[in-house]
Symmetry: C2
Subunit: 303 residues, 2 copies
Amino acid sequence: MKRLTRDKACYALSRDDEPVLHVAPGEVFCVETQDAASGKLKSPQDVYTEDLLPFVNPATGPIHVEGAQPGDLLRVDIERIDTNNFGVMALGDNKGGPMAAYVQSKETSFLDIDGGTIRLRENLSVPIEPMIGVIGTAPDGEPLSTLDPGEHGGNMDCKEIAAGASVYLPVAVEGGLLALGDLHALMGDGEVATCGADLSGEVVLSASVLHAALPTPCVETEDHLIFIGSAKTLDECERIVLNKSFRYLTDCVKLAPNEAVRLMSLVGDLGVCQVVSALKTMKFKLRKSALTAISAGGIITGT
Amino acid sequence: MKRLTRDKACYALSRDDEPVLHVAPGEVFCVETQDAASGKLKSPQDVYTEDLLPFVNPATGPIHVEGAQPGDLLRVDIERIDTNNFGVMALGDNKGGPMAAYVQSKETSFLDIDGGTIRLRENLSVPIEPMIGVIGTAPDGEPLSTLDPGEHGGNMDCKEIAAGASVYLPVAVEGGLLALGDLHALMGDGEVATCGADLSGEVVLSASVLHAALPTPCVETEDHLIFIGSAKTLDECERIVLNKSFRYLTDCVKLAPNEAVRLMSLVGDLGVCQVVSALKTMKFKLRKSALTAISAGGIITGT
């Protein structure tokens, strides 16, 4: 199995970057990732400063997927996520986010992970729920920072992007130029403190090329099909994810408009991914069992 | 067991309304409720019009809880929700909401409920998840329409307000003057079409009076403590529910500010209740298992 080492990190997704790995469609490979601070927070004395900004959210890549052409879709199947044995949380006033005014002083915490649980404080350990914070393809235009979420994926901080999930991303340039990083051992919807339990690790995955019309970014889990959108305000995110879900139900599942609206109101959940980046991110989760029951040709059609 | 019949409906929560039922703290009683259109949509030909507006969201009440004084908290324990055997969904352009532009034509659907499942369309039945759309107390000031969510509770459309949940509401006037209605057999977070599967039914519940400092409205389920807030935009709702959760963790659980912020980011989920009323509603869900582990005196303190 090919392995991409974590020194191959980038801080932007760019069509001009040379691929550091070439994979065939469906080939299983391993990507090592750095933590969200590029490993620069090593002790509680290392608090967050603006000097760190150029080193925030490294993504490992870009990875060239053979045969992927502009207009195609990339389906990234996440097989396994193995994490380091401690998570880092850096609180600090110049990190921004909605809780900035509540943080009393800059503080970096190291949370031990042992036997599948993470120790949040005295008397409180909870099971880890490893997820990928940043995963995206290179955009067609200007490079996008790995701090940014967007139509290319990126820093979506969607906690459903975990082992067993498939992530559908657009292909804007030849090979797709996939990159990923910013693993979290644990994170709540919103990531309100600007960080989860951030840590390094490795991801085993594969990527396939699809010719299908599906609004992206989209995440498929065991139970849900999830449409994701990012914008400056939550209200604008709401508009985007509802539009994507409606287009999916009418264009792909071929429901009549009124049926699509009813289904969205009954078995669709509007939710939040993160509220701490320059663009916020929301999700709309449709129940797959309902989609399967009414989609004779499968819930994602194409080749 | 006392029974409040569904003809005792109100369309505003008002300090000036005479109670239609008096109950003792902890007394178990039954409240019948009308559907969200006061039963006026009887066939597919009865589409939504503005004439219906005065009859939207009837709540049964007000109910006077003995001993409840301004400044107290009311804890409403929902024991059971029994629903009618069909849900109504009225789509119509003058209902507004984010999906208004996608609705092709006014249409009223009747969804059969049988054996605990609701039939959404051919080949698609799903289990019902009965919940209470409107539950609130009378405010201190001007009467509030049962269409409005707010600090008094009201039209929150929070799907966790279901059998087994406890709802904490403020007491602003003597007796609290509780009212409830707008049951849904099924609804997704957001209620994006302006309706769930709306229906009449009956609720078995009790109400207790607490002397405790807890940000309200708040819902306690088996697994979560949920703080609720309403405002014109989702971004403002976000600010409100994060503030309530932070105040709870620092004032009630006595966490240090930084610890509260970390916990919120790791085991707190920011989510959406509804985006279709004049005020939108969001929720912040904290894991009770985490709170229990660190709250020696119980997660809600007071008498």
